[in-house]
Amino acid sequence: MTRARLRKWVVAVALTALLGAGATWDLLPAPGAPEPPLIFGLSAEPVNLDPNLSVGAAAQTVKMQLYSGLFRFGTGGTVQNDLVASYEQPTPTTYVFHLRRNLKFSDGSPLTATDVAFTFERIADAKVGAYLRTLLGGVQSVDVVDPQTVKVTLSAPDAVFTTLLALPQAAIVSKAFALAHNDDLKAATLGEGPYVLGEWQRGVQLTVERNPNYYQRGLPRTSEIRFVFYPDDNSRFAALESGAVDMIEYVPWQDISAIRANPEFGYQGTPGPFMYLQFNVTQAPFNDARVRRAMGYAIDRDAIVKTAFFGRGTPIYGLPITKGNLAYDPALDHYYTYDPAKAKQMLGEAGFANGFTATLLSTSQYGMLKDTAQVVQQNLNAIGEHVTLALPDWATRIATGNAGRYQFAASGAVGDYPDPDFLTVYFHSGPTYYNYTTGYDDATMDAMLSMARGMLDPAGRAAMYGRIERKALDDAPYIFLNYREQGYAYKKSVGGFRILPGFLVFYTAGTLDTITVTN
């Protein structure tokens, strides 16, 4: 290397260093810019944008800006009309929906009854993979009465039908657009929601812009939302603290206390999602209901809330049904207690005086599932059982669960809707699914769950759910452990945010259209 070349090289390095140092200027956007966007720290990049699929909460948050359905969940969690102006139920199995006048998709094309009928067909089409296909399986026919009126006939009365239509996965799609795109709406989007898709910078951010054809006048209040992807919990929280984003979802539990104490930020959280043990009831030791019930007394729920959730949760000693729910029964709230001596005694009566040997399935991919499993393992080994952990990655956890190749598992979930019918996916027999008990198949339970869903009188339903709940707790194919808090944090410049309560917390994104951002 000659001296001249060395000099050039030194200059180049110095320049790079200077550029790096110079990079610290003007971090903040120019003040006084009109209508600042809402910058939202999203916990993951959306997998795809097909509104009828379910591919995670982050994707759902974005899709809810682009699409609307016939109904929606309003603040407080009640089912409200969205695209329907009104509806009648002339018979228990018939619904006549009247759409609002002059509905348009974001490109200006009219939204008519034909699109609604097409959406029902699309959800029923197996190869689409729609999330609500089974739940809406009772739809017998959908008739276009006139461009603004749709008549839906069910095979049996369904107490949760309009609730299901308020779920974001029931969003209405454009027939013409879907057919033009070979029914592949994973990347191509045309909706009728408050926003339209702007630019999607893969791996970085996704922008949505105000839909000029949105049916609600004056909404959305903010002209643009920029969803920046922060899959790492610490980075997402740091992004809020540093001012890079206005708002984040999935506030990490360890940071909730700090953010609540900080006057510069707002925080709203709700218990909603919950943790539980699911049993493979076809294999020893959990083929014996006495052993499963003993688990209800053996687990220290407070310890789980403290270690896995930094205290941001509430123990469950019965079923995950809260006050305000039609099926809530305070007498069942403390069906179990934390009583290791009693658990030990019950296990002795079931023939496991010297302890049982079992593997607890969970995953190393999500800290909360791993931590919960570890507490359960400690609790059980402390009373003389021999529990080992299996912690594969998530995809393997799913495959193992679907094959029923496990004895018991520590899991987390959320009810899809606040109606007690959400219990159906937990307690009704059906194909083995990774998140649910393996092998629990009880004809009485199946019949009661189906009857309860078909009853349209609330008092009768409540009584039926009372019986279901007692049987569910007694048969114990699950032991529920605790609610975990789900929270959003935001700068004080963000106004009008209101979290949806309980199970509905993941649909909070449907209310972002009323948010304001001030400079």
């Binding site: 003007d26 993979g129 089974t134 951010q205 920046v228 610490n234 992004a239 540093s242 995809a395």
Partner: protein, 322 residues
């Protein structure tokens, strides 16, 4: 030289085929089913019906026998087509083309910083061997080697992003859109990545320079009255560079596809994150495509490194040519 190069290219093609086949085999041996993930097990509580699983599997061609899937994939590769992602129907080639340059930019800047800093520190430490300067510099290099990159990264975010607010804590803006913002976003991840490389480059330089400094021709150079700077650049460094270049080439290759932690902490949309999420979701075409492309680059870089030896050391010549 030409004969040597063409033989290397042929070997590279065979290597790539072996890699492609191994990746295909291992991926399909892994437990986990992309169809179930597509049907909602990443976020829903409703189980898909069995006929949905069958229909979606069929639509994606995943119900065909493995040898047939393998054959189809190889045929596609022959047409330079890496297929489409199972999740969002985008072409794997365009996904990779979107992500690879951002990774390469980050790696190139980090390697440049590490080389500049590492060689300077390595030489300084070697020249003052045994003194407190050497001890201090070696300490810096050792910490670069031993502190995990996510710790360095998180500390950087905390200090420069959250506390001092000098630079954004992460993210990416294309250079073409806003060069200043691009550079600001690049600083933290590049420095973080450079810090761990610095340890490797610095230590190799120190060792290599020490070895060369005691060679007789260096003493001769000093004896004939050359300035110390000239001795260092013309005689010491030139010889000492060979192991350094080898290490840099090797590290560069490892980093392509190996920067996932830095990308994750700083939200840098590179190819490692693409690979990481694709593996988690068992997105077969994407994993296969990324592994194949990064392997090809790795092989290419090694070829370039081998060829550069000849330029650095006149004694190395391939096949007596050149």
């Amino acid at each position: 030289m030409l004969k040597y190069a063409s033989r290397r290219v042929l070997i590279a093609v065979v290597l790539l085929w072996v890699i492609a086949s191994l990746v295909f085999a291992f991926l399909h041996l892994l437990p986990g089913d992309p169809v179930l993930i597509i049907l909602g097990s990443e976020g829903g509580s409703q189980a898909p019906s069995p006929d949905q699983v069958v229909a979606v599997r069929h639509a994606l061609g995943l119900d065909r026998p493995l040898p047939e899937q393998y054959g189809r994939w190889l045929a596609q590769l022959g047409r330079f087509d890496l297929g489409t992602s199972l999740y969002d129907s985008t072409s794997v080639t365009s996904d990779i083309l979107g992500r690879l340059p951002t990774s390469l930019q980050l790696i190139a800047v980090a390697v440049a910083l590490a080389v500049a800093g590492g060689i300077a520190i390595g030489i300084a430490a070697a020249r003052r061997r045994g003194t407190w300067v050497d001890a201090a510099l070696s300490g810096v290099l050792a910490s670069g080697l031993s502190i995990p990159v996510f710790v360095v990264g998180t500390l950087m975010v905390l200090v420069f992003g959250v506390l001092l607010k000098w630079v954004p804590i992460g993210g990416y803006v294309p250079f073409t859109r806003d060069p200043a913002a691009y550079l600001r976003q690049l600083v933290l991840p590049a420095v973080t990545l450079a810090f761990s490389l610095l340890g490797i480059v610095g230590r190799i330089t120190r060792g290599s320079v020490l070895e060369v400094m005691h060679q007789e021709y260096v003493r001769t150079a000093r004896a004939k009255g050359l300035s110390e700077a000239r001795v260092l650049t013309r005689h010491v460094l030139r010889t000492a560079l060979i192991p350094i270049v080898t290490v840099i080439g090797f590290q560069f290759g490892i980093l392509i596809g190996g920067t996932v932690l830095v990308e994750y902490v700083f939200n840098w949309p590179g190819i490692s994150t693409l690979l990481f999420t694709a593996i988690q979701r068992r997105d077969y075409p994407t994993v296969q495509g990324v592994v194949l492309v990064t392997s090809a680059l790795f092989i290419l870089i090694n070829m370039v490194v081998d060829l550069s030896y000849a330029a650095l050391d006149p004694r190395i010549r391939y096949e007596g040519g050149a």
